[in-house]
Symmetry: C2
Subunit: 406 residues, 2 copies
């Protein structure tokens, strides 16, 4: 292609096999697994591949050598990389092959930027203000954009999101009349569920203007606007004390440098000597940055923490103790499977706007995320905590699994 | 008393009020809470105390100023400190008053001794080889000397220990024919339950000769000696691979310096890419040494870790991921309440041997432990883990709470 700069001469393989040599280098860098890498007539890798990664030009190949994660995503979105075969199987296999490798220094350096409210706002707008209509095409009807809880694998996404909201309420042992603070409330699904089913009063905050407007409209339509207050605000602006603190899908957007601030917010929100809360977040088993492409193009500033980073960095400084942890990794893989299928149907039906580049990027993001949870590259932790010595949670967890909302 | 060295003259209070001044110093050092401290005619502290700590002599008072934890325990055992009122209420209150204070440097220094197998053996003998008859007086009939799981607070201790053994098996999703390694098996209660109810083959190790002999006899009596092998061995001597690793009540006896070794044992026990396990241990919400008296006189070498110390120090190096954490703190307080009442009945009936000093020390240990769990000074964590990406655990935890053993 015309945009490829001429390569300097080098004493390596003969020019005829240059593309083949580059393909081998990519396979070594990214990890071949059961994939095949192809450019023009050349191909290397698995003899019976689950999928073939086909490069349109040498530039796409060179990009992968320089910065594999970002270049793969960008080139796929641009159409300069095609996956011949099953996209999901390809990214799962690539995840497995790639996961043993160490993150580069630059991956870590990019995490040290402070998460000031202004930056947090900008990060949130990039992802969550794409338009409610876009998300409505592939999320459930309550627009819950976090891991669902499938009581059985065959349950519908609608029911599984409802079950998730209810599981969170049960884990928090919410009682009528209690006050709850929700940090990062999305389109308001959990806040409204808590008020509707458990009779609690909720203060919920979110930096996304579109989401807050939508949530407020839902509260009004349901007559819950006296019970739920949606604030377009950073969670750090919270005032007052609450019986419970809850945050579903926000922690992974809070930079590690902001953990002490989050800890102070939790500590400030809860009374001394009592109170409880729940953090639901995407995590890792080892401290590593998120895939660089996802972080740069999809979720600016995101970092999935390890459980020990959260226990030592957030909960202990907040003066609270772990009561319960559940890893819902497989539930997130299944949630993403539902989202991806709905998304692809919407794309096929021409109901997803934006340009082809955006649509391909989103396809890769959903498939890549599903693969990450399926393989254990990412985890999903629900952590319940209490003040030390607080006895307000149910005597056993059997209460979480009893029939019907309490 | 004759052993008290004469005090140097000092410019403080007049000699007449010396005892009173020392009492006030003790109240400041230990924390007054709702306690009263008394020596002879003098008393300081709460006006309406939950209990009065009465010192027999000035030496007992001075000991508390020098090394409060050890001196309190030793003086109580010696009868030079008496608790007038409810012992449990007194130690609970003292726990609450004392807990804000920082541990001294010496508390930490005493933890650095390496846990070599020889030392581990010696530590175990001190506590667990007191004689099966002694423990049989106050444990349940299966001699399970770890936190029970009360399906409801009114359940009997016998049933609650059975429920605990079964909960562990359910959390591990044991399947007939699987192989399980148990590190630290006590009198064999869990190993036998796993073999009897779940049809698995168990290799269990324990350093206590008396416990191993007892466990082997039980296995023979039940015809389970082909299914369960009890080894008088350190857990680090394990060979072979297993479908599951389980350890109930051992981790708190493993010094922090030995966590890398424990991690290697877990990693070695499980196949690559699959396998699961459970650690049940006394923990803390903050890294602090155990009460110095308990550590010195009751459980040499014990250290209750924080959850993040276990996740980062044992599980991650072992190559496994947290699937589930349950904090059973309140269940341990209730278990200890049962043990303490049984123990006091046995003492009152003259069925506990040893001397008065031992019996008083044990009384304080049981009451102090109950207080520690009741107040949140100690926690009890059950942590289930798997190899990354292992999908062999039940789809939801509801399976743990279904009726009957599976």
């Amino acid at each position: 292609m015309s945009s490829v700069r001429p390569l300097p001469p080098f004493a390596g393989p003969a020019p005829a096999s240059l593309d083949r040599w580059l393909l081998s280098a990519v396979a070594r860098r990214v990890g071949a697994g059961r994939l095949r890498y192809a450019l023009g007539p050349h191909a290397v890798g698995a003899a019976e591949p689950v999928a073939t990664v086909r490069f349109a030009d040498r530039r796409a190949l060179l990009g992968l050598l320089r910065e594999p994660e970002v270049a793969f995503g960008d080139s796929y979105a641009d159409g300069r990389i095609e996956i011949e075969g099953d996209l999901l199987a390809a990214v799962e296999d690539a995840s497995r092959a790639y996961e043993g490798r160490r993150p580069g220094l630059w991956s870590w350096l990019s995490l040290v930027a402070r998460h000031r409210p202004a930056r947090a706002r900008e990060n949130v707008h990039k992802h969550y203000d794409l338009g409610n209509a876009f998300y409505a095409e592939w999320l459930d009807r309550a627009l819950v954009y976090t891991c669902a809880y499938f009581e059985a694998p065959g349950q519908s996404l609608e029911d599984a999101q409802e079950a998730k909201l209810d599981l969170v309420c049960r884990k928090l042992a919410l009682q009528p009349g209690e006050r709850v603070f929700e940090a990062g409330c999305g389109w308001g699904g959990l806040a409204l569920h808590m008020a509707r089913r458990y009779g609690v009063r909720v203060t919920a905050c979110n930096l996304s203007r579109e989401q807050v407007a939508f949530a407020r409209a839902r509260a009004r339509a349901e007559g819950l606007d006296a019970a739920v207050e949606f604030r377009e605000a950073d969670y750090r602006e919270v005032e007052g004390t609450y019986d419970a603190f809850v945050s579903v899908g926000m922690l992974e957007h809070v930079g590690r440098r902001s953990y002490p601030e989050l800890a102070r917010v939790i500590d400030r929100c809860l009374p001394k000597g009592c109170g409880r809360g729940l953090l639901h977040f995407i995590g890792r088993d080892r401290p590593r940055p998120l895939n660089a492409w996802i972080r740069r193009r999809i979720f600016p500033g995101a970092y999935p923490p390890t459980l020990d980073e959260v226990v030592g960095g957030v909960l202990r400084p907040a003066g609270v103790v772990v009561a319960d942890v559940e890893n819902l990794r497989r539930h997130y893989a299944l949630t993403l499977d539902h989202w991806r299928r709905r998304y692809e149907r919407a794309v096929a039906a021409g109901r997803v706007g934006f340009d082809e580049r955006f649509r391909r990027a989103w396809r890769l993001y959903l498939a890549g995320s599903e693969a990450a949870f399926a393989t254990g590259w990412l985890e999903l932790f629900q952590v319940v905590f209490t003040r030390r010595g607080d006895d307000s949670l149910p005597w056993t967890r059997a209460a979480f699994y009893a029939d019907g909302p309490r």
